[in-house]
Amino acid sequence: MGQILEITLMNLRNLVSRLGSSLVIVVGIAGVVAVLVGLLAMAAGFRAALQSASVPERAIVLRDQSNGELSSGMSNVEYNIVSQFEGVAVLSPELYVVADIPKMDTGTPANVVLRGVGPDAFVVRPEIEVIKGRRFEPGRNELLVGQLAAVEFAGLEVGAEIELKSSRWRIVGHFAANGSAYESEVWADLPVAQSAFNRGGALSSMRVLLEQPSLAASVAEAIKADPRLDLALTTEDQFYAEQSEGLSSLITSFGYAVATIMAIGAVFAALNTMYTAVSTRSVEIATLRALGFGALPVVISVLIEALLLAFLGGALGGLVVWLLFDGYTASTLNNASFSQVAFDFAVTPQLLQTGLVWALVLGAIGGLLPALRAARLPIFDALRGE
């Protein structure tokens, strides 16, 4: 133990003189960790935006087999039936369409969600908070815009007017919704939206506030059993988990794939550095061995050096991503809903931890082979070599 400590400390003390080549390990691993954590933070942010929209006591009613609000549809009759069901505290009838609104950065049209809602939509979702201006007035071409939509898409400032479906709409307010995907949406009065989009009295979905979260199953059963209804109830937790699954798992696996390829490159660089470190110190190591230090302390000291450098790299990579990307707002098309979702990158402590674990594993791989070589170094040859 004492030997390990001594050799390691000695190695670390002269690390400064090998600064250039040691930086190779640090920078290489920092790069891998930064890319991995960056992409995972993107996936996490996207998932969070959708899942923070869900609350246990809320559920969504769609047409049976529909995989999203856009492909779902129902009538007022069905609304009236469901609103009478036991366990349903508040039922909000909603229209969900997408409208082309230009993206702020590219100016090209994007599928922005326009949600037609009645007053109950705000009762069902108490997290909606008007942060600027006011709500739309019933019967008027007015829009209440989510705060992320206002940033990501052009022409949605309070007071502005935009053209949608051949008519002019005035933006009367911005709302916050606890960072959820609703903030990427644009809301309007239900009857106005229905007539603007030629939907007659048709609805896309209904949002249910249950009297108790535990009633979800029984209400779902009642809906399924009613022959007049061709609908299905899903809890918001489940609905948003499904909605976010595709893209977030895509980004996650992309992140791991790229990071793995990069990691191979970084390991090569680390191996190079540690081999060089070992070979330039071969005399030193041989001397130590001649003095009676065992092979194991030599191996461990080289490994510790590699791990330490790798840890520094991992911390550096994580820090850079956290500084640059945490909270960075992006928006993309969610294939599951075919509409735009804006979200903030979330560099969470777990992700940073994942990054550090990767860094240490890479450091261990990069350090092990050179450490073994150091231990096997023939003492006589090494000493005679000089």
């Binding site: 250039g20 080549s21 930086l23 190779v24 920078v27 290489g28 920092a30 790069g31 930064a34 890319v35 960056g38 992409l39 993107m42 047409r63 049976d64 087999q65 529909s66 995989n67 856009l70 492909s71 779902s72 549809g73 369409v97 997408v98 409208a99 082309d100 993206k103 950065d105 590219t106 090209t108 049209p109 994007a110 599928n111 326009l114 479906k165 051949s166 989009f197 030629n198 048709a202 061709d230 895509l250 992309f254 790229v258 390829i261 990069m262 191979i264 490159g265 970084a266 090569f268 660089a269 191996l271 190079n272 550095t273 081999y275 060089t276 992006a330 928006s331 993309t332 098309l333 735009q340």
Partner: protein, 386 residues
């Protein structure tokens, strides 16, 4: 000894280091080629075959339908040769995860316009004759093990039938292939006539968008605005664009994601290159005494620095060739998996050319400093240092 042999021999002086260096450069170029291809697909920068195709879509929102009566009006526009309507059918085959596009189309105009899809004349004949017929791309046939004659059940999510049921059954009469290997045939096509006849009333006599073939592709912009002017004041205004432009606009919806990915990639690439530069620079510095010996033997300054530069170039070029070679070899396998996500996956010759250009530039950059050192080296000083 010739210069080439000397450079070659030098590469093997520290074999492990050279191999590791080449491999880490190769990794960087492997990533470069793959990401370039993915980035291009996300940007919609890959030109598809349909240079002579025009897409006429609803002006305000993808969820608006266009009436079939527009067909004759559009066909009457000078320069329009053929037209086919398409609808997003959605629908579920067995499980929601089995995703592939399904379109109701008119058989002959469709295959007339999409010349890159090849279909046997007798298959097309059956497709056009049998009311409930469907054809599938060869990729789908393989993926799901379909045989000609199979009945393919699709559960509708957007388009129930007029009788309220949601099960659509299609008789698979054959398959078609894609001549464009970047774009595998993974469409499922069935008869528009059957669709409009059987679908619930709100889906009848409508299409989602029109695809046109122009006989004067150079007039595409003019024809597009002519068509849009035609419907400007109707209930269903349109927005027309070439297929290329349409794809590009759609890809832009994915938005800053592809930008972010590319920024990260750029960082990755340069990290690995910087690391390599460091390692190689170190290797060259170690050989300063050798260089002094060469100079002593009478080789000129320019010759010696040339050798150093050549070695750096060779290492990077070897790595680049290896990396991009692997990427190219993997292209087929990756395209099959990625096509569903990114649409088109192609490592173009332009990418390879840019890659080698980068490799030369990086090789020169990395070699420049050691080469200068070698050039200025005075024999006495170098030998004393050794």
């Amino acid at each position: 000894m010739s210069a080439a042999r000397l450079v070659w021999a030098n590469l093997f002086r520290k074999r492990t280091r050279s191999i590791l260096t080449v491999l880490s450069v190769a990794i960087a170029f492997l990533l470069f080629a793959l990401l370039q291809a993915i980035g291009a697909a996300f940007d919609g920068g890959v030109s598809l075959q349909g240079v002579d195709r025009l897409i006429v879509s609803p002006k305000y929102s993808i969820v608006d339908p266009l009436p079939v009566r527009q067909r004759e009006q559009i066909l009457a526009v000078d320069g329009v040769e053929a037209i086919v309507g398409q609808n997003w059918f959605g629908g579920i085959y067995q499980d929601r995860r089995n995703f592939f596009p399904k379109y109701p189309v008119r058989p002959r105009p469709f295959f007339d316009i999409y010349g890159e899809f090849e279909i046997e004349p007798d298959v097309l004949e059956r497709f056009a004759r049998i009311r409930t017929a469907a054809v599938a791309g060869d990729v789908l046939m393989q993926r799901y093990g379909w045989q000609v004659g199979d009945i393919i059940p699709i559960t509708a999510d957007i388009w129930p039938k007029a009788d309220g049921t949601r099960l659509w059954e299609f008789e698979l009469v054959g398959s078609f292939t894609s001549q464009d290997e970047r774009q595998p045939a993974q469409l499922f096509l069935f008869r528009y006539e059957y669709f409009t006849e059987a679908v619930a009333s709100y889906g009848k006599d409508q299409v989602g968008w029109w695809t046109l073939r122009l006989d004067q592709p150079d007039r595409a912009a003019e024809i597009a605005s002519e068509i849009d002017a035609l419907f400007e004041n109707s209930q269903t205004p349109t927005r027309s664009a070439t297929e290329d432009e349409f794809q590009r606009q759609f890809a832009k919806q994915l938005g800053n994601i592809s930008l972010i990915v590319r920024v990260i990639m750029g960082a990755v690439f340069f990290t690995i290159i910087l690391l390599t530069a460091n390692t190689m620079g170190q290797g060259l510095r170690e050989r300063i005494p050798d260089l002094a010996v060469l100079k002593t033997l009478g080789f000129g300054d320019a010759w010696v620095s040339g050798i150093v530069l050549l070695e750096a170039l060779l290492l990077v070029l070897l790595g680049a060739a290896l990396g991009m070679g692997v990427a190219y070899a993997l292209q087929g396998a990756l395209a099959a998996g990625l096509a569903q996500i990114v649409g088109v996956f192609e490592i173009t010759s332009a990418t390879i050319a840019i890659g080698f250009g980068l490799a030369v530039a990086i090789g020169l950059l990395i070699g420049a400093l050691p080469a200068r050192t070698a050039h200025r080296l005075t024999i006495v000083e170098a030998l004393r240092r050794g």
